[in-house]
């Protein structure tokens, strides 16, 4: 092995053998000595897979954080079993995490794994079956199963290893448990830190940074726990240096400003606080709930409260009540809950109460795939209400967006007195990606509740003829007394069934969307301004699509992409962009019929959601490619699909 980067100033390696036993000194010298042999990589995708409860996710998150601290771009994706306590050593129970690390900013989870650590062969098989291993993938596997008392287990293990080797993977059998038992009594807890130590050694990470990260991860536990975990970390590191003949180094990216590392749901929670909202009502639903967990921990510090309501409807009604009486409030949910909230959302639109509804989408319909990603609620979010319910729909494209979307949503909701739906999905919810630490601006915060007297004779719905906007009266304002109602009403908020008044209200509510649309800029096209094909996407797929576009353009294809953050209303100018490309294709993670199916043709084909929307609005013949495999789209898969589409055209 060789390396391009040689550090001439380093001490010679012989120090190591001397009596100097200072751990850090030894570590440093040793890693220095190894460093010279390290293979320099652009990026790598690492997975750690275990039974649930063995701590693979903590291991991977720590690994990602250490790498991020070292200056790497990272993206982590949790691999979540469907069940809470799946049986051990089962394919369905595979639980773990993928960490993509690179010497540039990473925007998605990437394609297949370069290196995989498995705690048993069954969970590994799950990844093999899902085609998640790159050819020649390095496999590090716990070897204790080879000698398991259960002959079946031992056989299954041996067979798997044989097959992996036969398939060309680089298998390393590792006595994880045996090694761990030298330090702790129960290897089930702690093996993950041993693995973290190994990974730190393999990827030439700073052991001191790793120790700090472990101390941070176990900050809530006793110092004894921290100590024993650090011991295991050191052991793993030591063992890998002694026994593994591989060492990589992924040079840092040139990002030097402070970053924060959080997942999408924590990012939403931070955004909620930064928006100045003070009340978030929710009902437990996967995968939205963890945002409320985070908020519940800290919200009171800014005077906020998470209300766990008795049901989804109550949560939304509660938020509406809170918004009505003061600052805009939020409710967080996922598909089924979002469906239940529709009647209340209609009320908020009708009565013009600001409200932020966050829908962390999951696989549907019905209970569907509770823990898996899908972008299936777009049309529902735009058109889910009975009657005409013009509400704003936004979608967060990455983890950073989760933070800022909530701030913008609050601002729009209160400026336009309407409902803003923010769509994210399961793949953002638990994914981690560093983004520049926000510079908090108090202008993000909701303004104080207006309690000044309303001028005599002012009307609660004094709709502006051009924009449909009206001032909102808040309880406590003298002279503002009126009875808000979900019934058709006039400017005084009196129930009115007269045809003219009904139309006036409808028009005014609709005009507000038009007004907002007038403030939106045409989104920038990624790639070239014109060409053979424009990929249009929305939400969490942005990073994968743009990476696919990069690869295709590198191959000389004239492909670009356009990513929409506002889905309702849509910015002006999009139609023009569409026309500059020969073909337009949406790439989404929701269902669309395939023309490959025999009874599907252009007349009965059901398009993916964004394609429906764009076709209806821009009268452009838009094709779609979509996948509903419950996992984030891979750039490689997208690139292949686009290639095929381009090829089809060629035919």
């Amino acid at each position: 092995m060789s390396t391009q980067i040689l550090d001439e100033t380093r001490q010679p390696a012989e120090d190591v053998t001397n009596a100097d036993s200072s751990a850090s000194r030894a570590d440093k010298s040793r890693s220095a000595s190894r460093d010279k042999d390290a293979v320099i990589l652009e990026e790598h995708i690492v997975e750690v897979i275990s039974d649930s409860g063995e701590g693979a996710q903590r291991c991977g998150q720590s690994f990602g954080s250490i790498a991020a601290r070292m200056g790497n771009g990272i993206w982590t994706v949790e691999i979540i079993p469907a069940e809470i306590q799946p049986p051990a050593r089962s394919i369905a129970g595979a639980s773990g995490i993928r960490i993509r690390l690179a010497s540039r900013r990473v925007t998605n989870g990437g394609d297949e794994a370069d290196l995989i650590v498995a705690f048993n062969e069954q969970v590994l098989l799950k990844r093999v079956r899902d085609n998640e291993l790159k050819p020649g993938c390095i496999v590090l596997i716990e070897n204790k199963w080879r000698h398991d008392q259960d002959a079946g287990i031992a056989a299954s293990y041996a067979a798997t290893i044989d097959k992996l080797i036969a398939d060309g993977h680089g298998v390393h059998e590792i006595p994880m448990e045996e090694e761990c038992l030298r330090y702790v009594d129960n290897a089930k807890r702690g093996k993950n830190m041993f693995v973290l130590g190994m990974l730190s050694a393999i990827y030439s990470l700073d052991l001191e940074a790793a120790r700090n990260q472990v101390a941070f991860a176990f900050a809530k536990k006793s110092s004894a726990v921290v100590e024993s975990n650090i011991k295991l970390l050191n052991a793993g590191h030591e063992w890998a240096l002694e026994n593994l003949d591989m060492c990589f180094r992924i040079p840092p990216s040139d990002v030097h400003e402070p970053q924060i590392v959080v997942n999408g749901n924590v990012s939403l929670g931070l955004g909620l606080m930064a928006s100045g909202m003070e009340i978030c009502a929710m009902y437990p639903i996967t995968p939205a709930t963890s945002a409320s967990h985070y908020l519940s921990d800290v919200f009171h510090n800014v005077g906020g409260a998470v209300h766990q309501a008795e049901d989804e409807i109550a949560a939304c009604a509660f938020a509406i009540g809170a918004s009505y009486a003061g600052k805009c409030a939020a409710t967080i949910t996922s598909g089924p809950g979002f469906a239940l909230k529709q009647e209340t959302i209609g009320l908020a639109v009708m009565a013009e109460i600001p409200l932020v509804v966050i829908n962390v989408q999951r696989g549907g319909p019905s209970t569907g795939l509770p823990t898996k990603a899908e972008q299936g609620d777009l049309l529902f979010a735009c058109f889910g209400g009975h009657g005409d319910t013009p509400n704003v729909v936004m979608a967060a494209a990455d983890i950073e967006d989760c933070f800022y979307s909530v701030i913008a949503a609050r601002k729009i909701a209160e400026t336009f007195n309407t409902v803003v739906v923010v769509l994210t999905d399961a793949s953002l919810a638990s994914a981690q990606q560093p983004y520049p630490r926000p510079k908090i601006d108090t202008d993000w915060l909701a303004p104080p509740i207006n309690q000044n007297a309303v001028p005599e004779g002012a009307k609660p719905y004094d709709w502006d003829a051009t924009t449909g906007l009206a001032n909102r009266f808040i309880p406590g304002q003298p002279n503002g007394m009126h009875c808000l109602t979900g019934l058709a009403h006039d400017r005084m908020s009196r129930v009115a069934y007269e045809p003219d008044i009904n139309e006036e209200g409808m028009r005014s509510r609709s005009l507000k969307l038009a007004a907002l649309q007038k403030t939106l800029k045409t989104p920038l096209v990624y790639g070239g301004d014109e060409g053979d094909m424009l990929i249009v996407g929305w939400g969490s797929t942005k990073g994968a699509i743009e990476e696919a576009v990069d690869r295709l353009r590198a191959d000389g294809h004239k492909v670009s992409s356009l990513h929409l953050k506002f889905l309702q209303p849509m910015a002006s100018g999009i139609g023009d962009v569409l026309k500059r490309f020969k073909r337009v294709l949406t790439v989404e993670s929701n269902w669309s019929d395939s023309l490959d199916d025999t009874i599907i043709d252009e007349e009965n084909r059901r398009y993916s959601e964004l394609a429906w929307l764009l076709r209806a609005r821009y009268l452009v013949d838009i094709d779609c490619w979509s996948e509903v495999r419950g996992q984030p789209l891979k750039p490689g898969v997208i690139a292949t699909a686009i290639r095929e589409k381009l090829h089809q055209k060629g035919k």
Binding site: S31, S65, R69, M70, G71, S204, D206, R249, I250, P252, S253, P258, Q259, I260, V261, V262, V266, L270, M273, E278, I279, H300, N301, V302, G303, A305, H307, E310, I313, A314, A317, F318, A319, I320, G321, A322, S323, Y324, A325, G326, K327, A329, T344, R437, P438, I440, T442, L445, P475, G476, P478, G480, M481, H482, C483, L484, T485, G486, R494, V495
Partner: protein, 327 residues
């Protein structure tokens, strides 16, 4: 040092004008002639006047149904929302604004059918608000369907052969919830007691649940005739911790019981009787904590404070890239 000049507060108080009943009258009521809702509206308006509630600080929240039109007829803030959802809306208002007086007006269908989950949980939350269930035992607005409190055997548009289900008893159910802190029953035909009971409910810190039995002249005419005509069929509950009947009323309604509202077991027994109809405060417990209290400890959340908290939170997640890679 003599200080006999008046304090500014005394003088300032003199500037305040009293609210009159007219200050609380909103739109002209459109209930049927003879409807019991009118008596309740008048009693509640009297209460607002007696308590001098600032109209802008008072919110009436309702669902859907005849009774839920109530907020339109008050000149306060009103929220005429969705069928069954008055309580969660009111809870949101109260959590956001503990300074507001929150009243919920709901009906038997609104509260005990479509809104049942919210009713049960509202009792659990015990937020400081006054909930009046205007229980006429029938769906009136949708024109004559059996409600969960309709008497057994009632013929209606949806039960032409008569209902076959036992009605729900809202106060028994409420008393069954551990967190219930105030449970009372009134009847629209004794408006003085509606006023007194709603007053006691208003004074109570916590959720006060008041069921008002109410006549519907349109679809359930004569339902309570026997009780309206014979004061002896009413049972007035008196206690120094509940309400005390005026002598004038006591001379008409002679059937009294001294009932200590602290006695939940007796309250449950009383609640389960329908003849005579008990009227008064059945249960009251001031020591049950209110849900809104946990919010907002004694700090002022100025933008700077919020910013400080956020910076601290961001610190938790911040990494400063070491950049060198491996050093």
């Amino acid at each position: 040092m003599t200080m006999d000049a008046a304090a500014p507060h005394c003088l300032l108080g003199m500037f305040d004008e009293d609210y009159t009943l007219d200050d609380y009258k909103g739109a002209e009521p459109r209930w049927c002639v003879g409807c019991g809702d009118s008596a309740i509206l008048a009693a509640v308006q009297r209460l607002c006047r007696d308590e001098q509630l600032a109209p802008e600080k008072t919110v009436f929240v309702s669902g859907i149904g005849c009774s839920s039109r109530f907020p339109h007829y008050m000149h306060t803030y009103g929220f005429h929302g969705l069928h069954g959802r008055a309580l969660p809306v009111a809870e949101g208002i109260k959590l956001q604004r503990p300074d507001l007086h929150v009243f919920v007006i709901t009906g038997d269908g609104d509260c005990c059918s479509i809104g049942t989950a919210h009713w049960i949980h509202a009792i659990r939350y015990n937020m400081d608000m006054t909930v009046l269930v205007l229980d006429n035992g029938i769906y009136g607005l949708t024109k004559n369907q059996a409600s969960p409190t309709s008497p057994l055997g009632l013929k209606s548009n949806t039960t032409p052969q008569g209902t076959v289900l036992e009605p729900i008893n809202p106060i028994s159910v409420t008393l069954g919830i551990r967190n219930a802190s105030f449970v009372a029953q009134a009847v629209d035909w004794i408006p003085e007691l509606v006023h007194d009971i709603v007053d006691a409910a208003f004074q109570h810190k916590g959720l006060s649940f008041v069921r008002v039995l109410q006549r519907c002249p349109e679809y359930l005419d004569g339902r309570y005739d026997a009780w309206v005509k014979d004061p002896g069929k009413m049972l007035l509950l008196n206690h120094e911790n509940g309400i005390q009947t005026s002598p004038a009323l006591a001379s008409v309604y002679k059937n009294h019981e001294i009932h200590d509202p602290a006695d939940r077991n007796r309250a449950r027994e009383i609640a389960s009787t329908s003849d005579p109809i008990p009227v008064g405060v059945l249960y009251r417990n001031q020591s049950i904590p209110c849900y809104e209290n946990p919010r907002g400890p004694d700090r002022l959340y100025t933008p700077d404070v919020v910013k400080g908290v956020l910076e601290k939170e961001l610190d938790r997640f911040t990494i400063q890239a070491v950049g060198g890679g491996g050093d």
